[in-house]
Amino acid sequence: QDRKVSGTVQDAKGDGIPGVSVLVKGTTTGTTTDGTGAFSITVKSANAELSVSSVGYVAKTVPVGNRSSITITLDEDVSQLSEVVVTGYASQRKKDITGAVAVVGAKELTAVPSASVTQMLQGRASGVTVGNDNSPGGGTMVRVRGFGSINNNSPLYVIDGVPTQGTLNQINPSDIESMQVLKDASAASIYGARAANGVVIITTKRGGEGEPKINFDMYTGTQDVGKTLDLLNTKELGQYYYESEIGAGKPAGTSPSVQYRFAPDGTQTIADYIYPNVYGSLPANYTYTNDITDPNLGKTAWNITKANKEGTDWQHVIFGPAKISNYQLGATGGSKNGKYAISGSYFSQDGILKYTSYQRYSVRANTEFKKGNLTFGENFTVSYDEKVGVPSGNNNESNPIMFAIRIQPIIPVYDITGGPVALGGTNSSDLNGFAGSRGSNLGNAPNPFARQWREKDNPVKGSHIFGNVFLEYEIIKNLKARTSLGFEYNNYNQSAYFNRDIEAAEARNSNSLTVSNSFDRAVTWYNTVNYNKTIGDHTFNVLVGTEAVSTYSFGFNASRSNFAFDDLSYRYLNNGSAAGLANAGSGATQTALFSQFGKVNYSYKDFLLADFTLRRDGSSRFSPAYRYGTFPAFSVGARLTELAFMKDLTFLNDLKVRAGWGKTGNQLIPNVYNAYTLFTPDPNNNAYDISGSGSSIASGFDIAQFGNSFGRWETNTSTNIGFDGSLFNNKLDIAFDWYTRTTSDMLTQVPIPKTAGTASIPYVNIGEVNNTGIDINITYRNQIGDLRYSISGQYSQYKNNVVKLNDDPKATIFGFSTRLPAISVTKAGLPIASYFGYIVDGVIKDDAEAASAVQIPGYTRAGVFKFRDVNGDGKITADDKTIIGNPHPDFTYGLNLNLGYKNFDLTVFAQGVQGNEIFNYLKYWTDFNTFQGNRSKDMLYNSWKKQGDVALLPRLNSNDTFSQQISTYFIEDGSYTRIKNIQLTYTVPSSVIKKLKLSSLQVYVQGQNLFTFTKYKGLDPDINLRTSGNDNQDIHMGIDEGAFPVAKSYNVGLRVGF
């Protein structure tokens, strides 16, 4: 007889679990639990058993007996082996995976608040190296298993089936359910053509069956700068300049600059005013002006500026506490026929560099409807963001961070007006009242804070749409066809206004406005058919499909100058003078990709697992004859614990050995039109005033690029061997992978002599790069009484080696030139972007040592660097430059510690890098005689003073222009360990929650980046690429050109379920 049984499914803590599937065993009768974990079901007899299962919990079968009310407690499935993982067009149980896949759950990902999900990957997945930009909304470098190419090593991101290769800033991290990194070819080759750098698969949150769950999450906190550089104060800098002049052979009592007077006995007097330069009180006829066009400026009118005799601590002027907060409201739920997950969020982060910020509004809706055999759904997110970036960009010598390091401490922040009213001063102008370097001998670094203030209203505004619609049809049982149309659209707009900076040494002659607009779109359409079949002990899963991707992007900018007013409301192009009119729009970037692919998964009795993948891609980036590439891969795995004799090893719960091999492709040559020889007109570079008018040009053309119509796919061949083991009642999980991957036919711009002109060099398929490494993940978890704990660690190492660039073993690709010649070289036998320069064997301590040293005419003497004569020819020439360092780490690691006691959870997350070297370009400015800027304490106090000194730096000498050659002096150990996150969470007990009529409530406090252990002397050892996300950046990695330092922050957060 039928009877109704009701009950609750709960977890170990006694909290109800929603969405649990409850099935009467052996029948099709089933239901799911509601939001509180309650269910009710009809059974036919007392012998009936209920099968209870839910993702993340160990399934259970419970006899009903004659109970009418049952409480079922499910244990968390800590081993996660039954977790289903999306692996590309399909999903697989984690335990069946035979390729190298790292899985990162939403909880871990979002533990450290950040604008971008890519930043959150740092230290979370073995084999994945992440470099952070640290600026709000800034880019991130993600590299999977080393550096396969010298072009672009960014992985492919696939969000709900839609591929993209951007910064992912437009995606709200809280919407993410899980993230998988497909690391080796056997896992990734289903994405063939674009998978060579790994694939990151992101799945956003979906609804489940059950009552609506409404959640509110928020956190808010404050961030501040950590370490700053040890620079000189006003008095010390005067001393430094003086000693440098004396060191240059000038007589005692020489005044090194107009602000510093020295008596022959070395007594220092500092000017009282720096603009005009006055000792004592100001002449009565001097007047104040903030008008740069005032004809008396610099004669009788000045933006009068007092000397700051103590010294301005510029680094603490530009940096300051900054707020970060995030608010998110979401609802999930659904029935058998329709599921939904919707959310809205607001994220706001101010940068610790004042007036930089990032704000994002985003809305996501994922819905899915089922009717009969049809499933139809969509996943879309719409977001809008505004970013006020670092003026002049991150990691750039002209950004405020570098200027704060370079500007002299004698310069105050404001002139005598105290700055604009909005900043607490009295200046009549909102943009003036700043002090600067305009006077004599004050260097050329502009007031960085003034720049930040003036450029605070120049945000980049982005609008983003990203998502897909899909239709799935179950043709017959286990045979499903799916079609998905994905769409990405990004639109960027910026009105960048620059006003005249009266106080700057190299002031802008006129104000100007540049308006930039750009957009890009990508459409991806894929179709798959998936068939599942079990025949006896053999299970097959076959997937075949096609995919077409088309992209288009376009941008232009226009500028005018000489605006009559600086007001924000006036900053529109029409208001500027047409004489300063300039506009530019480069050609559009358009690409197409078409692919066919198939994959077979086979398993025998859960013991033997095998995958075979084949993908064929065609790309518009290559000429028709070389358009298609075919990328096969296979992997096998054996779950040894299924063998009879292994079953006796009770400590071993699961052991799977895996091996895979495969090829993937890379088409990401920066030039999508590489096949063509092209000519372009350019008013700046190939037009000419042939008529001699003085104000007009005839437009010209010149060859812009040499084409290579023979270009074809870059191929990445990888072999992966690994195992996954679970031991001691699933308390210990170990995953180990060894891999080697070789990029062949690497698309390389092998330098050609400049005698061929300057048309850009075509990419040709000749280079070869190898990365070999290991990834290890270990997790141990246990419970002692009420104390729950887990420790997990991930360890990654790779060794990068350029096997060849072309047939010439000496072929060299240089990185960018800074003020110094190129610092990085890429050549055969070395890792990509090795540092290249002179070896300095310390500072010559005395005349005797100087006499025996290799002579550099006009330089070598006691107290200067001893450059090494590497080739032994008795002189120091460019031929003595050699490899002096390696930006690649020996290994990287992450460590996660979770402690739980009753309702408290403590999480500590540390992450680090070991054995890499950083080229500290900051020292070029602080430790040598470069411009009239500020200097390091090292330079004043730890430079050579007298015979016999064993000094860090050469003698002070204002005529020394040689010591700052690229050398080992700049190379520093970049190793660090950072306590990235410490978080204490309190989960309000369910008894209290019920009274509050809530379903869950958590509060937490969090400290980020509180401790960093490093020997690196710069601001921060986490150096990102120069412009992350751009092409060809990897050939110049590891160079600190004024990188945005990581912020220390303190947050409080709240998670409420209604």
Partner: protein, 573 residues
Amino acid sequence: CSDSFFDIQPQGAASLTSLSNKNGVNALLIGAYSLLDGVGAGNTGRQSTISNYVFGGITSGDAVKGTDAGDQPEQSFIEQFNWLSDNTYFLGKWQHTYDGVARANEAILLAKSTDVKDMTDAERTQVVAEARFLRGHYHFEGKKMWNMIPYIDETVYKRDDPNSTKVPNDKDIWPNIEADFKFAMDNLPAVQAQKGRATKWAAMTYLAKAYMFQKKFAAAKTLLEDVYKNSGKKLVTNYHDNYRNTTNNNSESIFEVQFSVNDGSNGNNGNAGDNLNWPYSANAPGRGCCGFYLPSQNLVNAFKTTADGLPMIGDKADGTADTYNLVDLPNDQGIRSATVEFNLDKTVPVDPRLDWTVGRRGVQFLDWGPMPGYPWIRDQNYSGPYTGKKWMYYLADEGSSTHSTSKRNVNNNYRLLKLSSVILWLAECEAELGNLSGAETYVNMIRNRAKNGSVQDPTVNYVVNPYPTGTFAAKGKDYALNAVRMESRLEFAMEGHRFFDLVRWGIAGPYLNKYMAEEAKNGTDMTGRTYNKRGYLAGKSFTTGKNEYFPIPNDEILNSQKDGKPTLKQNNY
């Protein structure tokens, strides 16, 4: 999937097919002209600016780097003869040289192409002639820098083979340069409708210049006399008209590099390569920048004249017997404030060209009022008290002569070839060939123009006179040569020719070592204090047999590898 899905044409660029017509050929030729200013070859511009201020200026004793010690140290290395082959300035100059060559070759190849149907043979020939003039010019720039360089013509350069230009630098390329100028001379009209285009006279003058560099004085003389007599060019009355935008393309001019501003570009066509070479003050031309490329004390002293208005020179052809540098012309070195009373002693007789060449405190600076000294100089202690002048503009011309957003971009043309050069080369030919009175006549033409033209500041004691007839003959050939060389220095100071002239005359070693030794010594400033002139030049030296030519850029040798061996051979470094 059909092929049309992949059929994506490059957006925003032209193929050779689209350019294969008359307009396309002319546009490529314009592209080749465009690099004349030294800007646009993907380097920093200052590395290859037509003024050659780095390679021909601060190396020559006429100028110092300026600014402060740590600014652009690579220029300091060049100034101090510490020449390393990886100095990016050498690479930048090389890159520009051959980009110019490549553009000229592209124009020639297309002009000769049978795919171009709408051009007559005469039109094609004219394009080829102009392009060969330019190709000769770019190679000439390289030749005087490095001596042994490869010559890349349209038969060597192959667009489809990136290795095609890996040609050894084992031949003297003067014959090739001459051939290009000869072809241009024989095929170009005497007058062109557009002022910027090369003419027959420009090609002839340039060919003569190539002869001068090879000491082929007789051959040079023939051509120079032809230009002098038949080109219709005349010396302008006022020396200064060669240095002002309102007198661009004047009657003296044979070939000018055309600058333009407010032309829809970002200012890149307005002498952008010299955009660091402006006074440091916002009350000065350029409205405040950088302070590079400043006249040396030695150059200023060279403008001193005897009471008779003659240069203070001796009878050694390498200038080592000259006396002008024994006493410094009064100046404001060490006066550190613009507001301190300073009265320049203007009684010392000087050549009026001094104040059209050098800005010095207390003397009118164009129409900007008296130059105020210290505020215009970035670090007087380091660089000395002077500033350059020839490329700067009048306050009255600000706006018409300057770019709207950057007043350091100006349209005051660089006069690459002018009749005054032709006259002084003729003087040199005559002196070398033993006709000393002929040499004297030519030199005196230049001196008379200086004497009779406008002056910058009437309160200065300007005295300049022609050499009394017979002076050269009386004092002999060495004196005559020295006089011609001095006259070139005074006339063309700060125009970037000097170092290359010193080298071609074979006097660079003794001349420059004397200069550096003297400039490194202390001087005495107006307050009576001892001051250090250019102390950083102490111990620096020019090595004869080495420093005549610059090192070939290291990168280029590296990238010239063919079959495992570099095709380029380094100079003596």
